[in-house]
Amino acid sequence: MTDSWSGSRWGEERPPDGPPPGPSSRPPGGAGGRDDLPALGAGWLAGRHLVWSLAASLFVVGLGAVAGRPDVALVGVGPLVAAVWALTLRPRGEVWVDVEQAATASGGIGARLLLAAPPGTEAVRLRVARPGHGCVEALVDVPLTRTVEVVAPSVRTGPQDLVRVDGQGVGAGGHLTGPATRTTPPPVTVLPRPGTMPALPLPIRLRGLTGQHPSRRPGEGGDLRDVHPFQPGDSLRRVDWRVTARRSPRGEQLYARRTFALAEAHVTLVVDSRDDVGPDPGTWSGHAPVRPVDATSLDLARHAAATVARAYLAAGDRVGVEDLGVRLRTLRPGGGRNQLDRVIHQLAVLRPQGDPHPRVRPPQLPSGTLVYLFSTFLDAEAATLASLWRRSGHRVVVVDVLPALRRGGLPGRGRLALRIVEMERADRLTDLVTAGCEVVRWADDDAASRVQLLARQSHRRPGVGVGR
């Protein structure tokens, strides 16, 4: 910008508690009560252009009059009339700007700007800004009211600020400027979009009497288990008359068909929200912001966890969420569509908070739970907890959510430090595999095929599906 926003009152902020002064509370056109109307032209200032053009026009007209040269006077007549027009028809009231979240576009965050300008406003000067995106300026036409859509290209999820908008009315050929308004960026929570999973690894033990997974326990709904002599408690509808006629021609013994029961899986998504690092190690210190088009580790964790949750909940299983960072953010296991909404919202609000104390004991999980642990494994705590869970009999799928790193541009010492960190991380992941955990790297292209392989392995595993 080459010039300041004249007549601006940047220091004024909207009261945080009160509602914004919208058109309903104070019509911008001054349609309210007479006493509420601002004075004519209040707040709209004549700029230097108007002063100088008016002075120059009067000078030229006077010069022409004194010299008896109507051709000279005619040069100043047009700007003189225009300046008088601008002075007498000043807009009344001020431009009102508000921001609300629009439907999130694909690959971006949508915002809707609501603009209202008093009559006589020729344009509204807008400055829309967002951290990481810079700012965009525009002179827009606002015939009393208008809506402008803004899209911020971003792959980031979770809590973040929408956009900050500065607005200023411009009247009569840009010669008048109204008071400037600034909106505080409204906080929004961008929900992760779950993807699809080709197959589902199952826990070592299935639980419950309902679900879609066949268990080894006799019960209702599953495949044929065996044909067994009729016992008290067996339903007469289960009597297999062909087998009975073949094995007991005289009818002294009835035979009933028994089936396997169906069961559900309990899945706990453990998200390590202590880290939120981007693909550029130079931003890990927090001094430089992560670009909005770069997914951070927590974005990957949210996406991965939401994908896993949707797949299991669609299969009728129960899913809960644990947060390694903040202990109060726990979602109890549940099933159904509403649980998916709760899980996604719970994942969306996860973010690093403070410096959490290291956990001495792992979070208590129901027996037979399939544990998905989403972490960057930049420190040993998450790996230690995963080993403890595995040792206590849970099946643990470790999802490495560290983004693919960009090493270019790192200084020599930075590269050395990164190499040490990567070696330690690789050791931790190797130890986890040794301890019996299954590792999936979510940033890789073959993450889906890797999960599919885990699912096939789980069905071959001895004892899988044995209900207790």
Partner: protein
Amino acid sequence: MSRAPVPAGPALRVDLARSVPGWAVRVLPAAVVLLVALASGGGSVVWFVAVAVAGLIALRPGWPTAGGVVALVGTWVLAHDDLLAAGPGGALRLAALVLGAHLVVRLGGVAAHAAWSARVEVAVLRRTLLPVVLVQTGVLVLLVVVGVLRSGVGIPGVGWLRGVAVVAVVTLVLLLVPRQWLGGGRR
């Protein structure tokens, strides 16, 4: 070893109606200044001043340079022969100068609010230029009336008209200029 700069993030997308870039809006009044210089048919001095003024308008649109163009054009017209007496060609040239000076003032005001990277909706320009059309229509009518009057009344009759014009201008100044401006107080 210095770090390579991280590429900037993508810009915000603001869904505007038909718009033009801000640099075009800033260059437009400067171009009109050059057209005015062309219409004046002036020599190297005129072109030097025109280029300087055009550069100032484009690079420093916040400065009230555009208003000064009216004074410059008026002074140039005064310094030369009466254009209305030069026949249809002179009248046409005068009309071009009058229109150009007004356009520079109007577009310079809009350019003062447009950054190089900004976008300006075409509707804004249309709304800004519409009053120019109305006012210039009146001015052209006035020009024709003045031409007709002068051809009828003749030069000797201009003496008392001049006195009336001076009085009218002084009255206009007293009526139009806000009291604060004359008093030197706050605007």
